[in-house]
């Protein structure tokens, strides 16, 4: 599903050159749940951004769902992300001025769909994360765990093949973190969604199929 070959990412300023990722090669199979661990600044999020086509590698090849996105235009990349990838972030990134339902509908706004279809899909996605009774609430009226469940609903509403989660439990206490993790595991098992998750939590990482460790931009496990 995801194939990275000799990925290198270098950040350059006028005076400094920082090697964020050094020759990373990684294959993620369809339906696999992979976790990435490593200390802060080791390149986890950079790697996730490259997988999510939010960033481009300096060198190396990325293949996602049988496509080579390096050759895609901005419009094609946006369409690809919309159709194939769902994102979950540590700080949820919900739009505070929109109700829960509208937040979940967001990815559907960027594809051809009617308001009725959007509402049906968003309601179903919220049902999957157990928030059917919160659709009219604003994010500020929700707990951290609920916010992250809304973010998961938003990530799955477009039925993507891949979910990329950047420390989804990082801002949550262990109970809420487990709740969120259960939802992700359920999605992976029941719906076969490929999930790549960055985490700092060893216990959470152990629940996934495979663990990859990074250190100073290089893969160590």
């Amino acid at each position: 599903m995801i194939r990275l070959q000799n990925i290198e990412k270098v950040y350059r300023t006028d005076t400094v050159e920082t090697l964020a990722l050094n020759s990373i090669s990684l294959n993620v199979a369809k339906g696999e749940f992979l976790s990435i661990m490593g200390p802060s600044g080791c390149g986890k999020s950079t790697l996730l951004n490259i997988m999510g086509l939010l960033d481009a590698p300096t060198r190396g090849e990325v293949r996602i769902a049988d496509s080579t996105p390096g050759y895609l235009s901005d419009k094609q990349l946006a369409h690809f992300r919309n159709k194939k990838i769902g994102f979950i972030f540590q700080s949820y990134h919900l739009i505070n001025d929109l109700q829960v339902l509208d937040n979940v509908e967001l990815p559907l706004l960027y594809r051809k769909s009617t308001a009725r279809e959007r509402k049906a899909l968003a309601t179903a996605a919220l049902g999957k994360v157990g928030l059917s009774n919160r659709i009219k609430h604003f994010p500020s009226q929700l707990s951290g765990g609920q916010k992250q469940r809304v973010a998961i609903a938003r990530a799955i509403v477009g039925q993507p093949e891949i979910i990329l989660a950047d420390e989804p439990t990082g801002n949550l206490d262990s109970a809420m973190g487990n709740e969120v993790m259960d939802i992700l595991l359920h999605l992976n098992r029941q719906e076969g969604t490929t999930i790549v998750m960055v985490t700092h939590d060893e216990q959470i990482a152990r629940k996934t199929h495979r663990l990859v460790r990074l250190f100073d931009g290089a893969q160590v496990q």
Binding site: D74, A78, H93, L98
Partner: protein, 392 residues
């Protein structure tokens, strides 16, 4: 997407309140500016109705003539007119009342016919007026020798007068009460823009001067032949001043008086336009600044939208569209106030003036917000999603 944007803006209405008020006031100011501009332009577009080129106004202010014998006065002033007319540079001369074209003088009264009442301008002029100002005769004729000894005073009316008092009728030959006596209409002329290019047209009538009019007449209009210049003006002045001893004589050119008269309308309009321009500039800068600031505060949201499928161009369009939605909410409120003007017939202007001004003000405000949102929109489109999502 539009519904989504409306929802987003509506939910942020408290944050956007001042901005919306600013757009509302800008719209109302532009509505006022465009109303004045359209009103004046419409008046300007109307035909002049007479030829003021090569026409001079000769005014003479002499001793009190009210007690003088009217036949002697008539003989004297007709002699003055003949003397002026004999000059080879002169094409035609006419005695006129003081409210001749492009002066500040007015003379009007209320006329009523068939339950219709209106304020009507009265102009007095002799038979040669038609040769001096060349009014456009639409029906009938100008009064002349044929009316000598007529039982009723002959008058000529303008098109507005005809429309007002004789809708669907031919007024020629009809009588109408003017002051305390009946007058017979002998002709209809096109409305003359005698108060300046930007003034509205209104009903008017032209009365024939009589022998007794010389006791109060103090102006002549003189059509000169092309090429007669300052030399002739000097000679004419000396000649008339010589005849009208003790009188103050003044010669003015109608085309110059027209410019002066037009400036009385144009200068306040220009001043108002400049003030409005500064206000709009302030609003634009404010709008631009707020949008720019908002973009910097919404980096994470922009990053998220990019992540879930928005293109850079889509983000740019969204910023512009949001501003348009914001403007639309303000403009709906503004429209409510603006349409009261034509509905309540405020200032008695034609409805089309207000509706055209509303349309222009709407287009202007929409264009303004698009221009102000364009650059912040481009800035937003350039936000790198990976960085924006990491920053928050």
């Amino acid at each position: 997407m539009l519904k989504h944007l409306f929802k987003l803006i509506w939910n942020k209405k408290k944050q956007h309140f001042l901005l919306m008020v600013e757009i509302l006031f800008s719209f109302l100011i532009m509505f006022a500016v465009f109303t004045l501009a359209v009103y004046n332009y419409k008046n300007y577009q109307r035909p002049m109705g007479f030829d003021h080129e090569n026409v001079w106004a000769l005014s003479y202010y002499d001793k009190d003539r009210s007690g003088a014998d009217k036949d002697s006065l008539a003989l004297f002033y007709e002699m003055v007119k003949r003397t002026i007319s004999h000059a080879p540079e002169v094409a035609a001369v006419s005695f006129v009342s003081n409210n001749s074209p492009f002066t500040m003088s007015m003379n009007n009264s209320v006329i009523t016919r068939n339950n219709k009442t209106a304020q009507v301008d009265h102009f007095s002029a002799d038979d040669d007026y038609v040769g001096v100002l060349k009014p456009v005769l639409l029906k009938g004729r100008w009064y002349g020798r044929a009316d000598d000894g007529a039982a009723l005073e002959p008058i000529v009316v303008n098109r507005s007068f005809e429309t007002m008092f004789f809708p669907g009728e031919d007024p020629v030959g009809k009588t109408i009460k003017v002051g305390d006596h009946d007058a017979r209409i002998v002709g209809v002329v096109q409305d003359m823009k005698d108060k300046g290019d930007y003034k509205p047209l209104g009903p008017g009538l032209y009365q024939r001067t009589t022998r007794s009019s010389y006791s109060w007449l103090s102006r002549m209009l003189i059509r000169i032949k092309p090429g007669a210049g300052a030399n002739f003006e000097g000679r004419l002045y000396k000649q008339v001043a010589g005849i009208l001893q003790d009188a103050t004589v003044e010669i003015e050119h109608l085309d110059e008086k027209r410019v002066v008269k037009n400036n009385i309308t144009l200068i306040p309009l220009i001043v108002f336009g400049v003030i409005a321009g500064f206000l709009i500039l302030n609003v634009s800068l404010g709008l631009f600044g707020v949008l720019w600031y908002t973009i910097s505060k919404r980096k994470a949201e922009i990053g998220l939208r990019r992540a879930v499928g928005a293109t850079g161009a889509g983000i740019s369009r969204q910023v512009v569209s949001e501003t348009l939605v914001l403007a639309t909410i303000s403009l709906v409120v503004g429209l409510f106030f603006a349409v009261q003007f034509p509905l309540l017939n405020v200032f008695f202007m034609e409805e089309s003036v207000y509706y055209t001004a509303i349309l222009l003000a709407l287009l202007f405000i929409y264009a303004l917000v698009v221009v102000c949102a364009f650059y912040p929109g481009r800035q937003a489109a350039g936000i790198y999603p990976a960085v924006a999502l990491h920053e928050d």
